[in-house]
């Protein structure tokens, strides 16, 4: 009988202990690593005042279509380079955070060229319709997608009047650390939030200045002394689809 009784096997117990430890490590390690990567990055390259986004600011851009050259695409290139938005040579499904559009007035024939991107509405329809709250607006007016809770339902794309959003149709490689993206989620212009938080201007505005056009002015709409506020006070400007009453953060001149 006694030969049938299983003896205590120290090796078995040791194995179980190690296996549990290993499993726990495997489960927790990636989280710890991501956490440390995220924080290391913020600490190293971005200066943050520790306050986070504040409603004292409302970030916006004023785009002067009169200064925008039809044959210039520098803002688009700069944006997509800055944020790692690549192409798979499939124009129907490739994402575009910003695009140049050319207009021709049906009555007068006047042509206009201008970039269109997320207009960072004060009351964004994308935020209204998002079932999980992944589409959100920061206190400083920047409209973003939380990639962690976006389920990829694309309702925001149906609701956006500006066609500003793209769905990621395939696996993404070579992402930028400051612009996380993922297959199956929706994304759009972040108004270079990583730069703004570091006190810098947007990539598109910077590229436009570098090209000598100075058609894009970035700044704080809530600061009466900012360049953008001064210009908006001085000159007539317009919102795309102003009829919807969305109070966009991106304004235009010459449209």
């Amino acid at each position: 009988m006694s030969s049938n009784v299983k003896k205590h096997d120290p090796n078995r117990r040791e194995f179980l202990g190690k296996a549990t430890g290993a499993a726990a490590t495997v489960a927790i390690a990636p989280g710890v690593m991501l956490y440390s990567v995220a924080h290391a990055h913020v600490g190293e390259s971005v200066k943050i005042d520790g306050k986070g986004a504040s409603s004292e600011n409302r970030w916006g851009m004023l785009i002067d279509a009169n200064k925008c050259a039809s044959d210039c695409n520098d803002c688009v290139t700069a944006c997509h380079t800055e944020n790692g938005v690549g192409t798979n040579d499939r124009p129907l499904t490739d994402p575009q955070w910003i695009r140049k559009v050319d207009l021709k007035d049906n009555q007068t024939g006047k042509t206009t060229s201008l970039p269109v991107m997320c207009q960072h509405c004060e009351t964004p329809p994308c935020v209204d319709v998002c079932p999980t709250g992944a589409s959100m607006k920061r206190a400083d007016g920047i409209v973003l997608v939380d990639k962690h809770i976006c389920i990829g339902c694309r309702y925001c794309m149906m609701a956006c009047p500006y066609k500003a959003r793209s769905f990621i149709h395939e696996t993404i490689t070579d992402q930028k650390e400051h612009a996380p993206r993922g297959k199956g989620t929706v994304e759009s212009c972040t108004m270079c939030v990583h730069r703004v938080d570091a006190g810098r201007t947007t990539a598109c505005a910077e590229a436009c200045s570098k090209a000598g056009h100075n058609a894009i002015v970035f700044g704080n709409l809530n600061d009466p002394n900012s360049e953008i506020s001064k210009q908006l006070r001085e000159y007539n400007s317009a919102q795309i689809r102003a009829d919807l009453g969305l109070n966009t953060g991106v304004r235009y001149r010459g449209i």
């Binding site: 695009r99 009555q107 329809p125 709250g133 809770i149 149709h169 199956g184």
Partner: protein, 402 residues
């Protein structure tokens, strides 16, 4: 009226298992389609950044709408007190549950991140009509399940009226929610119309009843049970009323849009020069899904059950066609960012957007139908959903034996 006896079907014939096997095979193919789209990404589907909701949504919304409509037969019995419909109530509620399950399965499996379903269940933005719908769908499952319980458990029978009224109210809210997904999209020319909510309700009456009749005829025909003319003709005439009502709502919807000059572009697109969308609208939704079934139901052809079944099938096909023109046609027409101006860009601004359904999307959509029907087929074998007989002498209080 005699006491109704409900029995489960035997379900041991070769035909029964073959039917389940066919549904299983279709669901298997749908599973492969789902895997392909999730693994490779949606670029292998016909959808793109312009047409963001494609064929899976056509099937999903159709099934969800039909689900609430399938419950109608039960509602007529317990809410409006028509005794002839009472024996059909169990099947009606069952079909409502399975159609909704099929539709939601398609909807969820088409998400960019279906693995995050738990996120959708735990993070709610209460301003989102989608979020309301998630609550409405889950609530529908619970309420209809309770309603079924009150009908099938003798001790609970006394509560079935209350449960039936609750389920009826809930289903009206649910379809209002489904229609509002589109009706509240202010930015899109093709939607942005509050009439879409009641229009979806009347569409649900029609599609739900058409599917109900087809399932009823198949179940009774294949199991050799009697389905009398009294029940059958009443259902057929009711379906005719619903089909006509859908046509009326379509007319009102398009006339309303036509009155506003700013909507002339999108109306001309759907009704006149939209190519495939115009054809699907007139030929599919109006003629095949509306006029031909009406002609069958309200003429001497309505006495022929095969033709009536054909009419019900046409109502279903017409419903899918209408969903296609609403969902995909509505997106194909470009967003108008600059009224009065011609617009061109590398992002397909100002052009009619192209869309070709892929085999994966069609497979996933049909998989949802197979799931719903397989669940019904299985359920009526394991539980007594069907009356042993729906012969005139059993259900019609005014029936006179010849």
């Amino acid at each position: 009226m005699k006491h109704v006896t409900y029995t489960s079907i035997e379900g041991d014939s070769l035909g029964y298992w073959a039917l389940l096997a066919i549904f299983g095979a279709i669901m298997g193919l749908a599973g492969i389609a789902f895997y392909m789209m999730e693994h490779h990404g949606h670029y292998i589907s016909g959808m793109n950044n312009q047409i963001v909701w494609g064929t899976p949504h056509v099937f999903a919304v159709f099934l969800i709408v039909a689900a609430s409509g399938a419950l109608n037969v039960a509602s007529i019995a317990s809410v409006f007190g028509k005794p002839m419909y009472k024996p059909l109530s169990r099947l009606s509620a069952l079909l409502a549950l399975t159609l909704l399950a099929g539709g939601l399965a398609v909807l969820v499996l088409d998400l960019g991140r279906p693995d995050r379903l738990i996120v959708a269940m735990t993070n709610y933005n209460f301003k989102s009509i989608f979020a309301w719908n998630i609550i409405l769908y889950n609530g529908f499952f619970v309420i209809v399940a309770i309603y079924l319980w009150t009908m099938m458990e003798r001790r609970m029978n006394k509560h079935s009226h209350k449960a039936g009224v609750s389920a009826f109210i809930w289903r009206l809210i649910l379809t209002t929610g489904t229609g509002s997904i589109f009706g509240f999209l202010v930015a899109r020319q093709g939607y942005d119309a509050a009439i879409m909510a009641p229009m979806f309700i009347i569409m649900s009456f029609s599609y739900g009843l058409a599917i109900f009749m087809l399932v009823l005829m198949a179940a009774y025909g294949w199991t050799g049970r009697q389905l009398g003319d009294a029940v059958f003709h009443r259902l057929k005439n009711l379906l005719g009323v619903f089909v006509a009502a859908v046509l009326y709502f379509l007319l009102a919807y398009h006339l309303t849009n036509l009155y506003a000059t700013e909507h002339h572009g999108v109306e001309a697109f759907i009704l006149m020069n939209g190519g495939i969308y115009t054809q699907i609208f007139w030929l599919g939704a109006v003629v095949i899904g509306g006029l031909i079934p009406l002609a069958i139901f309200y003429s001497p052809m309505g006495k022929n059950r095969t033709l009536v079944a054909l009419g019900a099938i046409l109502v279903v096909l017409g419903g899918l066609a209408l969903m296609y023109t609403i969902i995909i046609g509505g997106q194909a027409y470009p967003l108008i960012l600059f009224p009065g101006k011609e617009i061109t860009s590398s992002f397909y601004d100002g052009v009619i957007n192209s869309y070709t359904p892929s085999i994966y999307e069609i497979g996933l959509g049909i998989g949802g139908i197979a799931l719903a029907l397989a669940a019904v087929t299985f359920a009526i074998k394991i539980m007594p959903f069907l009356p042993a007989s729906l012969a005139d002498s059993d259900v019609d209080p005014h029936h006179k034996t010849a």
